[in-house]
C-alpha cells in the first residue's frame, strides 16, 4: 500500500457526517420546521443537484485535470434544451437527448483541445467555459425561457413520498460511476492516468482516449446538472450555472476525492452534497442571512479538509479520541 493514509483520505467525510448529524439535531431543536418531511425533501432536492455538479468535476479530477467549465456547460445545456422545448416545441425526450448530447460534445471538445494542444485542462476550460457561457448569454440575451412542459416541471419538483424525483438521477449516476471506477476497464484506466500519467503511458494506455473520456463524461454530467437545475427552477436560465465553480470543487474536496488525481470517492460526493445541503438549509431555517451561508461553507471546507487530511495533526488525534466510533469506521477498512 503506497499511500498509508488512503483509507483516511477516502473517508475524510466521516467526521463531517458526524458534525452534520450534530448540527441537524441542533437545527431540529431550534426550529420545528427542520425535522419535517417537507424539509427533508428540500434538502434532498438541493443535494441531488449538488451531487451532479460534484460528479461532473470528479470525472476530470480522476485523471488529474480540472474543469472550470462545469457551470457554463450546465447553463448552455439548460438554455439549448429550453430553446428546443419552448421556442421549437420539440417533444421532451428528443430535447433532453439533444441537451445531453450537447453537454457531451462540449466536454469532448475540451478533452480534444487538451489532448491535441498540450495546454492543461485548467487553461483550456477557462477559455472554453467563457465561450459556452457566452453562447448561453447571447442566445437568450439574458432572458430565461419559461413555460417549460409540465412533465419536466413535475419531474423537477415532484415527490415520491418524502423523496424528490430528481434524486433518482443522482443515485443512478452514482451507481454508474461507482461501477465505472470500480470495475470497468475505462474507469480503471482513468484512475491509473490520474495516479501516475507516465507509468500509465508506459503501460500502453492512451492519454488521448483517457482525456476524451474524462472531459466527455464531465460535460455529459454537467449537462445533466443543467437539465435538473432547469427542471427545478421551472425555467432555462443562462445564469443557472454561474455559481457552480466553487461548489464543483468544494464537494469533491469535502468528499475525499484527491485534487491530484488517481483517487475518487463516489459515495463521498453523495455524502458531501447531503452535508452541504443540510447545513445551508439549516442555516436559512434558523434565520441566518443568506450571505452568511457562503461564509459558513468556506469555513466548512477548512474544517472538513483539516479533519480529513491532517489526521496525524493534534486536532485530528483529539477528535479521534473524543469520538471513538469515527476512528473505528476509518480504521475498519485498513488491513
Amino acid at each position: 500500500m503506497p499511500r498509508s493514509d488512503a483509507p483516511a483520505t477516502t473517508r475524510s467525510w466521516v467526521p463531517l457526517l458526524a458534525m452534520a448529524a450534530v448540527a441537524s439535531a441542533g437545527f431540529a431543536l431550534v426550529n420545528a420546521q427542520f425535522a419535517t418531511s417537507f424539509n427533508l425533501y428540500v434538502i434532498l432536492s438541493s443535494a441531488a443537484l449538488l451531487s451532479l455538479i460534484g460528479f461532473s468535476q470528479l470525472t476530470v479530477l480522476a485523471v488529474g485535470e480540472f474543469s472550470l467549465a462545469v457551470g457554463s456547460i450546465g447553463s448552455l445545456v439548460g438554455v439549448a434544451t429550453g430553446y428546443l422545448l419552448v421556442t421549437r416545441s420539440v417533444p421532451l425526450a428528443p430535447a433532453i437527448g439533444f441537451g445531453l448530447g450537447l453537454g457531451l460534445l462540449c466536454g469532448v471538445t475540451n478533452g480534444a483541445l487538451v489532448a491535441v494542444s498540450g495546454v492543461g485542462g485548467f487553461v483550456v476550460t477557462l477559455a472554453t467555459g467563457g465561450a459556452f457561457a457566452g453562447i448561453a448569454l447571447a442566445v437568450t440575451e439574458t432572458v430565461p425561457y419559461t413555460g417549460l412542459p409540465n412533465l419536466l416541471n413535475d419531474f423537477g419538483t415532484g415527490r415520491l413520498g418524502p423523496l424528490p424525483a430528481v434524486l433518482a438521477v443522482s443515485l443512478g449516476v452514482a451507481l454508474w460511476l461507482g461501477v465505472l471506477y470500480g470495475w470497468r476497464r475505462t474507469g480503471r484506466t482513468m484512475l491509473a492516468f490520474g495516479g501516475n500519467p507516465e507509468a500509465a503511458r508506459l503501460s500502453g494506455l492512451s492519454r488521448r482516449t483517457t482525456l476524451l473520456w474524462a472531459h466527455g463524461l464531465s460535460g455529459l454530467l454537467a449537462g445533466a446538472a443543467g437539465i435538473v437545475a432547469m427542471a427545478q427552477l421551472h425555467e432555462a436560465n443562462p445564469n443557472a450555472g454561474s455559481g457552480w465553480l466553487l461548489q464543483s470543487f468544494t464537494i469533491p474536496i469535502v468528499g475525499g476525492t484527491l485534487l491530484t488525481g488517481g483517487e475518487v470517492s463516489v459515495v463521498g460526493i453523495l455524502v458531501a452534497s447531503l452535508i452541504l445541503a443540510t447545513i445551508s438549509d439549516g442555516l436559512i431555517l434558523v434565520n441566518v442571512d443568506a450571505i452568511c451561508v457562503t461564509l459558513v461553507q468556506g469555513v466548512l471546507v477548512f474544517v472538513v479538509v483539516s479533519l480529513g487530511r491532517s489526521r496525524e495533526g493534534s486536532f485530528g488525534r483529539w477528535l479521534r479520541n473524543a469520538l471513538p466510533f469515527m476512528s473505528a469506521s476509518a480504521m475498519g477498512s485498513q488491513p
Partner: protein, 343 residues
C-alpha cells in the same frame, strides 16, 4: 546553489523572450484588425478607457503571478481586493481619514490578508488551492455581512480624479503610472534581487530550494503578502475609476488574474516568470473588449468572442513556442541578453 540559480535564470529568461515577442505580434495584429475593420478603436476616448482597464487588469494579473511563481495559486485575489477596497472606502467615508492615510492603510491591510492566506497554507499544509478557495468565500462573506451588501459611494474627488484625469495626452490615464511602477518593481524583484530568485527556486523545485538553504516558509509568506498588496492596489484602482467602493468588486477576478500570467508566459507550475509578458498580456486582453465594440460585435456576443480570442491566443502561442529552434540547447545561447548578464 549558484549553478541551480543560474540554470533557473536561464530557464526564466528563455521563456520571457519567446513568449513576449509572440504575444506582442498578436497584439499588434489585433490592433491592426480593430483599427482597419472597425471604427473608433484608436480614438483617444477608447485608448483612455483601455489604459485604465489594462492597468487594473495588469495588477490583478500580478497578484496572481507572484504566487504562481512559487508554484501556488491564489483563488482569493478577488476576496482580498474587495476586502481591502471596502475597508479603505470605509476609512475615508465613515472614519473621515484623508486619502493619504486611508490608501496606504488599505494596501497594508491587503498585504495582511494575503499574509493570512500564506500563513494558513504554511501552517496546515493543505495546499494553496483549497486554502484560498475556502478563504475567498470567507473574505467575501465577511465583507458582505459587514457592509450589508451596499456600496460606499462617497469617495473623495481627489481619489476619483486620479484615474479620470489624462496623463500627458488625453489617451492615457494616470492609472498607468502605478501599474508601470508595480511592473518595474516586480521586474527588479525577479531579475535583480535575491528574494526574487528564491521565489523562483521554490517554484521550480521546492525540495531542492529548501536543501540549498532557501527558507521556504518565509518565501511563501512573502509571496502571499505581496499578492495581497497587489490585489489591494487593483481594488483601489477600480475604486478610483468608478468613484465608489463596491461590494461586488473582485467577482470575476480569478479568471482574469489567471489569464494574464498564462498568456504572458509565466509557467502555472511555478519557477518561470515573465513580467513583461504579463504587461503585454494585460493590454492584449483589454484590447479585445474595446476592439469588439469598435467592430460592432453585439454586446451579448462579446463574452463569447473574447473567450474564443483567448483560446486562439493560447493555442497559437503554444504552437509557435513548440518550434524546435526556439528551444535553446545551452544556457549560453541567451548570453548577452539583458537578464542573463546580471548573474
Amino acid at each position: 546553489m549558484n549553478s541551480v540559480l543560474a540554470s533557473l535564470k536561464w530557464q526564466a529568461t528563455a521563456s520571457v523572450l519567446s513568449n513576449t515577442s509572440v504575444l506582442l505580434i498578436l497584439t499588434a495584429l489585433s490592433w491592426l484588425v480593430y483599427h482597419t475593420l472597425g471604427d473608433g478603436f484608436l480614438s483617444s476616448y477608447n485608448l483612455f478607457t483601455l489604459s485604465q482597464l489594462a492597468s487594473e487588469t495588469l495588477l490583478i494579473g500580478f497578484s496572481q503571478l507572484v504566487v504562481v511563481v512559487i508554484g501556488r495559486l491564489n483563488l482569493a485575489v478577488g476576496g482580498v481586493g474587495v476586502a481591502a477596497t471596502m475597508a479603505t472606502g470605509w476609512l475615508m467615508a465613515s472614519a473621515g481619514l484623508p486619502p493619504a492615510v486611508a490608501l496606504p492603510t488599505g494596501l497594508v491591510f491587503g498585504a495582511l490578508l494575503g499574509l493570512v492566506l500564506g500563513a494558513i497554507e504554511v501552517a496546515t499544509g493543505l495546499g494553496s488551492f483549497i486554502v484560498t478557495l475556502a478563504m475567498s468565500s470567507i473574505y467575501v462573506g465577511v465583507v458582505l455581512v459587514l457592509s450589508g451588501g451596499s456600496a460606499i459611494s462617497t469617495v473623495p474627488a481627489s481619489v476619483s480624479d486620479f484615474s479620470n484625469d489624462p496623463l500627458v495626452t488625453p489617451s492615457l490615464s494616470w492609472l498607468v503610472v502605478p501599474a508601470l511602477i508595480a511592473a518595474a518593481m516586480l521586474w527588479l524583484l525577479y531579475n535583480r534581487s535575491v528574494w526574487g530568485w528564491r521565489m523562483l527556486a521554490v517554484g521550480a523545485n521546492q525540495r531542492a530550494a529548501e536543501l540549498s538553504g532557501v527558507r521556504v516558509n518565509a518565501t511563501v509568506l512573502g509571496s502571499f503578502a505581496l499578492s495581497g498588496l497587489l490585489a489591494a492596489s487593483a481594488g483601489l484602482m477600480e475604486m478610483s475609476r468608478v468613484a465608489a467602493a463596491l461590494p461586488s468588486l473582485g467577482v470575476g477576478w480569478v479568471l482574469s488574474s489567471l489569464v494574464v500570467p498564462i498568456l504572458g508566459g509565466t509557467a502555472l507550475i511555478g519557477g518561470a516568470v515573465s513580467v513583461t509578458g504579463a504587461l503585454v498580456a494585460a493590454v492584449f486582453i483589454e484590447s479585445i473588449d474595446s476592439g469588439l465594440v469598435s467592430l460592432n460585435v453585439p454586446a451579448y456576443w462579446q463574452q463569447f468572442a473574447e473567450a474564443i480570442v483567448l483560446l486562439a491566443a493560447v493555442m497559437a502561442d503554444r504552437a509557435l513556442r513548440r518550434r524546435p529552434f526556439r528551444r535553446p540547447v545551452a544556457p549560453s545561447t541567451t548570453d548577452g541578453k539583458a537578464h542573463h548578464a546580471s548573474v
